[in-house]
Each structure stands twice: as C-alpha cells, then as structure tokens.
Amino acid sequence: MKESSLSMTWRMIFLAFLLPPLLILALDITFYGSFKGIDSGVSFTRFANATLTAYTLCSLFLLGNLFFYGESRNRPLAPLVGMVVATLLGILATVFFIGQGPMLLEDNGSVQAQAIYNIVHMFVSSGAILMSVCVALGVTFSAITSQKPRSDFDLEEE
C-alpha cells in the first residue's frame, strides 16, 4: 500500500472512532440548537482530574515494568530513579492542583477525599473501557469466524 493511501486509511479509522460522539453532538445541535447538558467548567474539572490520575497510575504501572527491563540490563538505578521522579511529580502535581481550591474539587471536601475519589473513579472508568474493548474485539472476532472458510484457490485465481 502506498504511504499516502496508508495515511489516508489511518485518518479514516481515527475519524470513524470519533464519529459516534460527533453524531450525537450534531443531532443535539439540530434538535435543541445548542450543546445541551454540557457544563464546560465541570467537564474541564473531570478532564483535569482524569489526566492527573491516569498519568500517576500509569507511571506507577510502568515503574513496575522497569524491574523487568532491569533484569536484562544488570539492574541499573538511573532509569528507576528517573521513573520514580516522574511518578512523584504526578502525585505532587495532583495534590498541588487539587489543593488550589474549587478548581479540581468535585463534590469532595478535602484533597485526600478528592484524590481517593479520583482513584476509585479511574478503576470504574478503566473497568468500563476494558469491558468495551472486550466486546468490540470479541464481536469483530466472532464476525470473522462466523463466515464460511475461504478457499486458497479463490485467492490464487485473483
């Protein structure tokens, strides 16, 4: 496949991923004339909390992976320290930004309560994401296996 055509394909796949929310947004604007139900302040708070929590938890997970990387490299300390610093940066940024006041506090009264809520929220969101990935991959696989087996001769004739 040519490079330009491959890049076009990737763009189409990315657009297909964005299509459902865009379609709902378009229908909303058509029928109600505005973005009904969107509170940009609340949405930004959720986005920022999700970003900080995902960064910190993902860094922790990758920090664990560094142990396996270290096995093949005579256990170097430098990358481990680098990743520990990156994770600590995430934790400090979370505590700092939540502590700034109502900007990142959702319905919680303290930094600790918000941080714990963020982690639990992330578990639930990750569960939903994992489940939808399982469903989408599983249905794709079952759609492929439910077709009749292909003959190699057909392919050769083409």
Binding site: A16, A50, T51, V120, L137, K148
Partner: protein, 273 residues
Amino acid sequence: MNIQGFEYDMDEMLQALLLFWIPVAMVPLGLWFSLSSQSKSTMANGRFLAFLGIIMVCLSPWSVPSSPSSAAGHLLGAVIGPCMLIIIGIYLISFSGNVAVGKLPRSDRRLGVLMSGSGFVWLAGMHWWILTPQLSPDVVNPYWYVFWPTFILLTSCLASCSAVTLLTLGDRRRAESNAMFILSGLSILILLLGINIDGPLVEANEFREHLWLAIADMAGIAVGSLLSILIFAFVIYTYERSLPPPKSIHPPTSSELDQVSKLLRNHLGGEEE
C-alpha cells in the same frame, strides 16, 4: 436495595484500608502472581488471591458502609453478572465458528447469542427498568453514571473504528464490517434513547450530563496515559543513550584464521561413496 453494614469498633480509615483498599490491591497482585510464576502452586495461590480480592471488594458495601469508595464494590457486584454473561457468550459465538484450534460444537453458537443478548438486556434493564444499582431506595449508585455511558460510548466508537478498519485494511470483509456497523449503530441508538427517554430512576438530562463527562473522562485518561508512556520512553531512551558503546574486539590474527580454515576444511565435504 437497602445496605446495612456490620458494626465494628474500629477506626473508619483503618476499616476502609483493611476491608476495601487491601482487597483492591490483592486483585492485581494475585493476577501478577498467576501470570508471571512458573510454579503451579504459586499460580493457583495467585488466582485464589485475586478471586478473594474481588469477593471482598464486592462485599465492601456491607463490610465498610461508612466508606464512599465501597459504592464501587457495590457496582462491581451489580455488573459482574451481565458482563460475564456477555464475555462468555462472545467466547462461545467466536469459538463455535470457523476456527483452526479450540473449536466448540456448533450448538454453542445459539447458547452464546442467548447469553450475550441476556447480558446486554440485563444492563439495559439497569437503565430503563427496576434493575438500577441502588445504594438505598431511590438512591442510584453514583458510579453507575460513570460505567454505563463510558461503556456504551466507547463500544460504539470502537465498533465503528473496527468496521472501517475491516473495510479499508481487510480483504473482502464487507459482511464482517456491516456487523460492526450494526453494533456501533445499536450503541448510538441506546445513547440517543438514554439522553431522551427517562428511566424509572435515571433521568434523561442526568444521563446526558454524565455522557459528556464520560467523554471528558476518556479524553483525560488518554492524555494522562500517553504522557506517562512518553516519559517512560524518554527515561529509557536517555539511559540507553548514556551507555558507553560496546567494546570492539581485535580482528583475528593470521594464526587464528589458519586454525578456522583448518577446522572448516575438516568439517566440509564428507566422504565419497
């Protein structure tokens, strides 16, 4: 459902740590043991640890009712049934088709369709019927508003993505692509119904608000995860670049070359018959 917890003489924070957070940590730890260990007993212990963790998290609304986090355990207990039905159903449908290995009997396909269909109907019944996860009468579990829109929206996005991938990168995959478009369309239909029709406990406007919050949430998760992966790659790249180049050895001497050619000569050719 009206949740009444057990009574303990224990600090609430300690109670939450012992009966919610440690069981939560037991799940990935158990999975790690079961996947990484070579020994069968460690694998079995790991699986048991993860299973015990899941059970204790599901029981957390009763064991630690004072902790707001236990609502997540309540949600897990509520959705684990339909989710397992859907996953097992899809497994049965997939492996009763044309697969090279692990083929199941053809009759399992109907059972699979029935199971995954019942799973989806069960989840839909949580929105539009009396099955909504409730912490107390008429109080919907707040995490249900996180799980349901995220699951349906991402399923529709991924199904649409998969349909276009099958069409553009696959070879003669139109029928499979159509099946994925149907799944994406059904998910969008459920979302549109959700934002326009009230359920007995879940109002359309509330669902609409949480749908946009789910989009913000997924965007945040994507940005945060990508950022940490980039930093991880940067840390590894910087370390690998700082390593000294590997020492190069001297070229072979003429006596070594002679010895190699002698060895090669002795091992090539073979005896003539």
